[in-house]
């Protein structure tokens, strides 16, 4: 994990000679092993946990704010792709707080009628 929280936003992330040679960053652009700090929970996430009957973040523990092409983004496993964070959103200087924002944005996206999974569900649901 880089010391500068905006390292992968401000640079291409190609730090080692090997990365420069192959033109791509090796590994994740965030710490997948960073466990969440629940003191940064947003009100939306608290309500989500309550509705689902969970006392912690459950599957959202694996959601972090990452970076795609120098933009902050969140990986949506349901579409197997990155979803970019709105450009006008101010990001806090703590990875834990950024991860909570990422989790909230992802829930709102996944549960919306416009999510591609809604169409896939209509097309492929068997029963």
């Amino acid at each position: 994990m880089s010391k500068n929280i905006d390292h992968f936003i401000n640079t291409d992330g190609l730090d080692s000679s090997r990365e420069k040679e192959i033109g791509q960053h090796i590994g994740y652009r965030y710490d997948v092993n960073l466990v969440p700090d629940l003191k940064y929970l947003t009100p939306f996430l608290k309500k989500y946990m309550e509705i689902m009957g969970w006392s912690d973040l459950n599957w959202l523990e694996d959601v972090h704010m990452g970076y795609e092409e120098n933009r902050p983004a969140v990986f949506d496993r349901n579409i197997n792709g990155w979803v970019s964070v709105p450009e006008d959103m101010n990001l806090p200087d703590s990875q834990q707080e950024r991860d909570m924002i990422a989790r909230e944005l992802l829930i709102k996206f996944q549960m919306s009628e416009k999510h591609p999974l809604v169409d896939l569900n209509k097309a492929y649901r068997r029963f």
Partner: protein
């Protein structure tokens, strides 16, 4: 000659002339996204509304269809009596739901779920919680091999002992084992967390790419590229809250658990990549 034929093939496939612009998968969050908390296609259920299914004379498929019918009626708390170790029970539930099995399950129980909280009062066979996405599965007794195979999210808990290859190909989520785990647990793990409160068998975390394994007991041996790392305060506080949540005790306290991570010495695919590209293109 071999290289030439490979080049011809890539040209024939259009890899050199294919237009990639305008074909991005890129998506943006919209500020107008609605504040839903569940999938639009899921059933609206009430946790205070309960129902029971007697599986005595039903097949696995019939039991799963009955669960769906009750969810359609808004039942949010379902109890299955006499599951009799049938295979494939409680699979593919993409809904918030409280589900209780009053007995044991066979192979591939509660796989492919996204959201429900499941309580199994007996034992489970191979591959319980396989490809699980979200929710929780709590097993009161022991579990078979490949427990939580390819799990992607949620909490999968076994109060007793589990077999070999626990969390094989784990891609996320948390697996908790109250007792011991067998050989090759965490094999090819990619991310997520595994908590073993008892002992771990041989080759723990073999070829793990990423993720974390916490062990409270003895480790018979570590697998290739699995290494021990010091525990942080954040690790200890997270472990404590997670284990307290399910009432799982630890012998020596969470702060004395061992933390196993990837040594990342097998991250050498990039060394091959340039030569592979040359071969293909």
């Amino acid at each position: 000659m071999e290289k030439l034929s490979t080049q011809n093939k890539s040209h024939e496939m259009g890899l050199h002339s294919e237009k990639l612009s305008g074909r991005t998968q890129q998506r943006f969050f919209s500020a107008e996204e609605s504040e839903n908390f569940v999938y639009p296609f899921s059933f609206e259920v009430d946790y205070d509304k309960s129902g029971t299914i007697d599986a005595e004379n039903l097949s696995s498929k019939e039991v799963n269809i009955e669960i769906r019918k009750l969810m359609e009626k808004g039942v949010g708390d379902i109890t299955i009596k006499n599951p009799k170790s049938r295979h494939g029970l409680g699979v593919g539930i993409l809904n918030r739901l409280k589900l209780t099995f009053e007995g044991s399950l066979g192979y591939f129980g509660c796989g492919l779920i996204d959201g429900p909280n499941i309580h199994i009062k007996g034992r489970v066979g191979w591959s319980c919680g396989e490809n699980m996405m979200a929710g929780s599965v709590l097993i009161e007794k022991n579990a078979g091999s490949t427990f939580g195979a390819a799990i992607r999210g949620g909490d999968l808990i076994c109060r007793g002992d589990v077999g070999a290859r626990t969390g094989i190909d784990q891609k996320g989520g948390t697996i908790i084992v109250g007792g011991r785990t067998g050989a090759f647990s965490g094999f090819m793990m990619q991310r997520g967390r595994m908590i073993i409160c008892g002992d771990a068998g041989i080759n723990l975390g073999d070829s793990m790419y990423d993720g974390t394994i916490y062990v409270g007991g003895n480790i018979e041996s570590l697998g290739v590229d699995a290494v021990e790392e010091p525990m942080s305060e954040l690790d200890a506080s997270w472990l404590k809250s997670k284990l307290d949540l399910y009432g799982i005790p630890t012998k020596n306290g969470v702060e004395n658990m061992k933390k196993i991570v990837s040594g990342k010495q097998l991250w050498n695919y990039d060394n091959l990549e340039p030569s592979e590209k040359k071969l293909v293109l």
